[in-house]
Amino acid sequence: MKLIFFKINDMYKNRFLRFQFLLDRSEIKNPKILLMRTVKLFLITIVLITTLWSCEFLDYNELDQYNKDQMLMEFSRVKSLLTNVYSYLPTDFSSVNGAMRASASDDAEHVWEVSDIQKFNDGSWSPLTILDDQWNNMYSGIRIANFFLKETDGLTFDLIKYNVDYPELMKQFAYYPYEARFLRAFYYFELIKRYGSVPLITTLLTQEEADKVTPSPFNTIVDFIVSECDTASKYLPVGYSGLPASETGRATKGAAMALKARTLLYAASPFHNPTPAVNDPKWIAAAKASKELIDLLGSNYLPLEDYSKIVNNLTSKELIFERRQGEDRAFEEANTAIGFEGGNTGTCPTQNLVDAYEMKATGLGIKEVGSGYNATDPYATSGPTARDPRLAMTILYNGALWKSTQTVQTWYGGLNAPPALNATKTGYYLKKYMIESISLNPENPSTAIHVWVLFRYGEILLNYAEAMNEVYGPEGLGSAPLDNLTALQAVNIVRARPGVEMPPFPTGMSQNAFRDKLRNERRVELAFEDHRFWDIRRWKIGPFTTNIRGIDLTRDPVTKEITYTLKVVETRVWDDKMYLYPIPQSELFINNNLEQNPGWF
């Protein structure tokens, strides 16, 4: 292009010479020469312009982005495509417009009345008022995974063939498609647990195709996830620490097996499997999937991690797969109690959850006869009235220590209590996942790495116990590989973990009694790890989770004695349609093949 401009410049220079030539008086006397010159001049100009027209004068642009070919040319760019697929992994750090999804379960209530999360609870959720919009987000993750699978297949990166690290890079690259397939399966699981049946897309759609897709039934997608996980787990490594680049955090064999186990557990659960057969194959499949993973990980993962070190810990012993985050403090800003520096309150755990914690000494629920529960010292951490230690590690209650200096005061008039604006609605604040060392001092704030647990060994054990109990009862065994670990044994591993050491489940429980106690165990063990919201749905216990309770504390100004008064914080709206999310109305408007989930309109 530059050349052409030089050319033009030259031409113009010549033209000026010609103009000067025209001024020559002697020339003027000969009009014919003059005429010829002018005509020539004019023709030259026309030729010049038409030449320009046909050449690249108009091809000028200043694009500075890669196109597809450039993306696929270099290993690092291909890798960055897969990195992007990982970025769609979910957390429940403030996942619904600043609130935890847990605040839409009976484990918590969000302090802010006009928060979107309340629409789950007050019935104003609708196909028009979309909450937790993963329809959009997950299909974006699926798209980039599909792109990766389609376009990077067979790439050899010849440009770097003779680099020293080429073999190592190619070794990493060999895992990439299976990572992508695992992640894509993960995103489909995120979709089906919300929407039931969704379109199963494994190609790169055009806009026209996207508008005509048809949904696949829930079970078809379950089968797809299972088969993808089977393939991925076949090829993925057990861990990355010994491999080139040591990129821990990538999908492992265990992660793929864990996804399969959880998916099959959901598929076998009452919501999707309302009338299980005797020796129900779905429950057996779920139990087997969990057991295969337990067998794979075996004793390496035992004993389990200290309960207080499970979350926000990259090196947690029982971690199978996690959603990593950079250094920030957004979660602490969103959930620190009012009254602490920078605190404005967010998630308020409910009395419902607090009541689920059993008694440390007896292993009994607080309402059971002989449990040893003392209503005037409900949060005891030691002695005969002590509660399950996981309570203190999950929830901040009155008297709990926070930031090692300040005691939480939730009695009326206390530092962290009403009538202060934005004080807790339930009497509790969140502790789990909150990093205590983060400073919210506006002058000198600090940050830390947050790690969201996606799969951990404890969950797999509970998944296994649940599935086994449904088929074989608490203490029954099946055929291999279900022949050496009972449901009861599995759950007791969890309860016996260091730092918790709760009494084991008793022997001789009925299947139903075991189920109830296991569900309570699961609620406590996995509290605020984004399970309760989904367990309510797959167990179909929605109507029993609407009564949200809290506690009022009053302190006698003289004796400093606290009085506890239970209260109802909220009576939520439940409708059975809420077992599934509504499909966004705008999607139905565009695509006639989609069908709204039952009950939503």
């Binding site: 009009p31 196109n67 597809k68 495509l81 379109p199 806009q207 996207a210 990259l314």
Partner: protein, 1006 residues
């Protein structure tokens, strides 16, 4: 003077003798008189004979001339005010009365047509009207001057501000913040900003409105074109014009903020409304009111402290023009200077911090006849401008933001320790910003050059001529700042908790005082190169006339920043035909290519056809006594717009979400697929139809009426609303938006004279109503939510039905989901009856916030002998604005001040009469959101100028050896009738205020 004309004749004969012209033997002398439409003689009109180029005669003071010629030759008359007539020499005595139909109208590509011949819709305003404005940027002289041209004033200093200009409203919309409504401004045929010129240079400004006029501009015409023509040398002998004007400026309107007591009471009220205890005790309120402790309980009127009442300005221009032998030139020097409205500007030694600007413009337009058939034109122009302001970080809006948002009770200007007042919440003491933050200078250097060569080629084909041109412009803006920071002091009284007596004070020094730090940055620059060539041909036979033009042009504009280079190639042609001076037809077309679009769709073809019929020239029409002139026009054609986001035809990959790997959680960059390629992608095409009537009636009334209907297709729109999100990536943009735009323009002039009395009344009314026909809108559950079918930039919001009275009413009403509702909050109408107030209850309110539908103006002038008075009004209607300026309309939030606009805020006592919601200290998302309370009618009716002038009578002038002399006093923007009241309805945000000005000037010509 008579002597002079005899000299002229002698000179003429001398030329004739010198020119060895064949057939001189048959020559005879023709004599004639040129009159204007009021039968006054036209002096200094140029008379030429087409067949004898080089011979130029001028009319004398009585409009008379003698010219040698022969029968059958074409006599051409050209007046100084751009009227043109040609006629075939038959009679010895010629009497010509020129009228409005003879006015030359620029039609683009340096061509002009007599108004009579015009078939397209073109509006024009000439220098004599434009110079009635005392402005620096010529764009600001255009308010209401041309039917169909909407010019909306913006805030900002006179030397920096640029109005928004639209032709026939708007008929397109951009995606996001992308602006695609810019019109094309051409100065002497080359794209240039109007702000680069000074008024003294401008001969006329024409607006091209319909396809017939715009088709030749191809991809750049659809939004309308502004043709600016600069002055050229004309007239006999040297004439010099000198203008000087002194102006005094004054803020047009400034909001009034509550004093300290009023502010503190309002804060208390807000606290009570928020359910809190009042912040100030009665004792403290009293201290604010009494002013007894001005340092601890200050009451500062920041406007009074920061601004002075009047600014001032001077304008000077001198121009020379002459027709000498074969050279004609016009040269002008223009200097504008203005001092702004800041008050405390002399606190520093070595510099003053007044906000001010100056601009020096120069221009030389030279036409040379190199030979009898070769004309060379050189236009050389440029400007040097400097503006000065205090050294605040951004620009002067920092200062006005401080003035408008800092409460009167916040802190004193200076504390008793002679330190700048301030607090940790308010680090921007306005007086400190003005006088203690150094200063900053901004400079602009612009050079504009055109070279044109035109050659007649009659020897080849009779009537043929060819030309070539090159034009090069360069503009550069830089900023040199000498800025510093200042320390300020916060003084807090310590009160006895019971009696509120001041027991002590706490003094805190905040910030630091630094020395002047020099920083120089290039702000922006652009350069433009255009070159091309054209062929022209004109011929006639019997009563037919045919002229045609062919143009090839290449242009490049490079501006600062990426994707800011624009290249165009244009081939344009035009054929103009007339028969019997009654029937006219134009066929215009162009092929235009652009670099902003991908290959294959970057070139467009734009044809247009237009016809005109001068009905009044039909013989059967003569019986009609009402019409002196009646012409009908009709046009249809295409025009394009290539202002689209660049490179969207490619599927680019963009940095996407990162992830963290490894034992150290290393952040690793991700890349994701960007928006899908937008293909096919094309330019916008406007299908424009126009029907017009030009009429003159009863010898005193001119009327022009144009009706138009435009359909804009190919507008780039987002497809997200029509593509399933299962796609998983941003869907392509689509060139499938459609907008209809229809309306009319009416221009009316009435003029008459009764003896020494002359008066004229001009009226203009423009109406343009657009409607979005297609925008691939997203799904909207309710009909009233749809943007399709509405105006472009129609305001949407909730409909307020009143204010909540008490908790019972809140409980009984539909749930409002934006914030926790308290009594005094705005209650909204539940449009869809779903018992919830949310975004689905937003309805269209008012009109567009972008452009008014009605734009009108009126001028009334009266003159008695040499004294005249003229008033010019301009107004708009069907126009909406969103009053969301914090401090002025939205009080107290974000620690801001409160103006008297909030006087009508809700309190329990005024619940029945309040027009605004309760005061609150929080950024209440229920009240402060688009709704019918904050969308206000922005219509206005302004007195743009009022002028009293003395055109000194010729008796005095000739004694002074002058040509003419005018002395005047002129007021600009004197008042406005509108509904906003506390600020200029055209500038409701935080800006340097718009100004009124009082100007005294003198114009001398000799």
């Amino acid at each position: 003077m008579k002597k002079y004309s005899i000299q002229k004749q002698l000179y003429l004969w001398l030329i004739l003798l010198l020119i060895n012209y064949p057939g001189i033997a048959q020559q005879k002398l023709f004599t004639g008189t040129i009159n204007d439409e009021n039968d006054n003689p036209v002096r200094n009109a140029r008379i030429t004979i087409k067949e004898q180029p080089g011979m130029i005669i001028f009319t004398d003071d009585n409009g008379k001339f003698n010219i040698p010629g022969e029968k059958g030759q074409i006599l051409e008359v050209m007046t100084r005010d751009q009227h043109y007539r040609s006629l075939r020499l038959e009679e010895d005595q010629i009497v010509l009365s020129l009228n409005k139909n003879d006015a030359l109208i620029p039609v683009g590509n340096r061509l002009e047509l007599r108004k009579e011949e015009l078939t397209s819709a073109i509006g024009i305003v000439r220098a004599d009207e434009l110079v009635k404005s005392s402005v620096i940027n010529p764009a600001n002289s255009l308010y209401g001057k041309i039917p169909g041209l909407t010019v909306l004033q913006n805030g900002g200093t006179n030397w920096n501000n640029d109005p928004d200009i639209f032709v026939r409203g708007v008929e397109t919309f951009g995606i996001g913040n992308f602006i695609n409504t810019n019109i094309l401004t051409l100065v002497d045929g080359f794209e240039r900003p109007l702000s680069s010129l000074s008024l003294a240079e401008i001969e006329s400004v024409a607006v091209l409105k319909d396809a017939a006029a715009l088709a030749v501009f191809g991809l750049r015409g659809a939004n309308g074109v502004l043709l600016v023509t600069t002055k050229r040398g004309t007239g006999n002998g040297l004439s010099v014009d000198v203008n000087y004007e002194h102006g005094i400026t004054k803020a047009f309107r400034l909001p009034e903020f509550l004093d300290a007591h009023g502010y503190a009471s309002a804060v208390n009220q807000a606290h009570v409304n928020d359910g809190l205890d009042p912040l100030y005790s009665q004792v403290e309120l009293d201290r604010f009111q009494s002013g007894s402790s001005p340092y601890l309980y200050p009451d500062v009127n920041w406007i009074d402290e920061s601004l002075r009442d009047f600014g001032s300005g001077n304008k000077f221009s001198i121009s020379f023009q002459e027709q000498a032998n074969t050279v004609r030139y016009f040269a002008v020097l223009n200097y504008d200077e203005e001092q702004g409205l800041l008050g405390p500007v002399n606190e520093n030694t070595g510099y003053n911090t007044q906000i001010s600007g100056n601009k020096f413009n120069f221009r030389a337009n030279i036409d040379m006849d190199l030979t009898r058939s070769t004309k060379f034109t050189l236009n050389l122009a440029g400007n040097l401008g400097n503006s000065y302001r205090p050294g605040t970080e951004n620009d002067e809006t920092d200062i006005f933001k401080a003035i408008y948002t800092i409460p009167s009770a916040a802190f004193p200007v200076k504390t008793y320790n002679d330190a700048w007042g301030g607090t940790s919440a308010y680090d921007n003491n306005p007086v400190g910003l003005i006088s203690a933050s150094g200063y900053s200078e901004k400079g602009r250097r612009e050079l504009m050059t055109d070279f044109l060569l035109e050659r007649k080629l009659d020897n080849l084909i009779k009537g043929l001529s060819a030309g070539g041109f090159v034009s090069f412009d360069k503009s550069f803006d830089y900023q040199d700042s000498y800025s510093r920071l200042f320390q300020y002091e916060q003084i807090t009284p310590i009160l006895d908790p019971v009696t509120y007596a001041i027991t002590d004070t706490a003094e805190t020094s905040l910030g630091t005082t630094t020395t002047l730090a020099f920083n120089s940055i290039p702000v922006s620059q652009w350069r433009r190169t255009t070159f091309g060539a054209n062929l022209r041909h004109s011929t006639d036979w019997e009563d037919n006339k045919l002229s045609s033009m062919l143009l090839l042009q290449s242009e490049e504009l490079i501006r600062t920043g990426r994707n800011n280079t624009f290249r165009h190639l244009l081939a344009a042609g035009n054929i103009h035909y007339s028969k019997a001076g009654k029937y006219f037809a134009d066929l215009a077309m162009s092929i235009n290519g652009t670099n902003t679009l991908p290959e294959g769709s970057r070139t467009g073809f734009f044809p247009a056809l237009s016809l005109a019929w001068k009905m009044s020239d039909e013989e059967w029409f003569n019986a009609n006594q009402i019409f002196d002139n009646l012409k009908l026009r009709a046009s249809w054609g295409l025009s394009g717009n290539d202002q689209v986001i660049q490179n969207i035809n490619l599927n680019a990959f963009t940095p996407g979400g990162p992830y963290y790997f490894g034992a150290n959680n290393n952040p690793t960059g991700g890349y994701s697929e960007g928006r899908l390629a937008s293909n096919p992608l094309t330019y916008e095409t406007s299908y424009k139809s126009n029907f017009g009537i030009d009429a003159s009636m009863l010898g005193m009334l001119d009327l022009t009426l144009d009706l138009f209907y435009n359909k804009r297709k190919g507008i780039l729109v987002e497809t997200a609303g029509s593509v399933s999100r299962v796609l998983g990536v941003d869907p392509a943009f689509s060139s499938s938006g459609i907008v209809n735009n229809k309306g009319f323009e009416l221009g009316l002039n009435i003029y008459d004279n009764k003896g020494d009395f002359t008066y004229h009344l001009d009226g203009q009314l423009s109406y343009a109503r657009n409607q979005i026909v297609e925008m691939l809108e997203e799904y909207r559950p309710e009909e009233y939510l749809k943007r399709t079918g509405q105006r472009i930039n129609q305001s949407f919001g909730l409909e307020a039905t009143g204010f909540f009275r008490d908790a019972t009413e809140i409980a009984d009403s539909p749930k409002q989901t934006f914030a926790i509702i308290m009594p005094g909050d705005i209650k909204y109408k539940d449009q869809n009856n779903d018992k919830t107030i949310n975004e689905y209850d937003e309805i269209p309110i008012g009109y567009s916030t972008q452009v008014p539908e009605f734009y009108f103006s009126g001028l009334a002038g009266l003159k008695y002998t040499f004294v005249g008075i003229e008033a010019f009004f301009q107004g708009t209607a069907n126009y909406t604005t969103y009053l969301n300026t914090i401090g002025i309309f939205w009080p107290l939030i974000a620690n801001s001040s409160i103006s008297n606009y909030s006087d009508d805020s809700w309190t329990p006592a005024t619940a029945n009469t309040a027009t605004l919601p309760r005061l609150t200290m929080s950024e209440n998302a229920n009240n402060y959101r688009p709704n019918s309370i904050w969308f206000a009618d922005a219509s206005f009716f302004k007195l743009r100028s009022l002028e009293l002038y003395f055109d000194l009578p010729s008796k005095i002038i000739s004694k002074l050896k002058l040509d003419r002399m005018k002395v005047y006093a002129r007021g600009m923007n004197l008042f406005s009738i509108d509904k906003i009241k506390i600020v200029d309805p055209e500038a409701t945000g935080i800006t340097y205020p718009t100004v009124s000005s009082y100007n005294f000037g003198i114009q001398i010509g000799f």
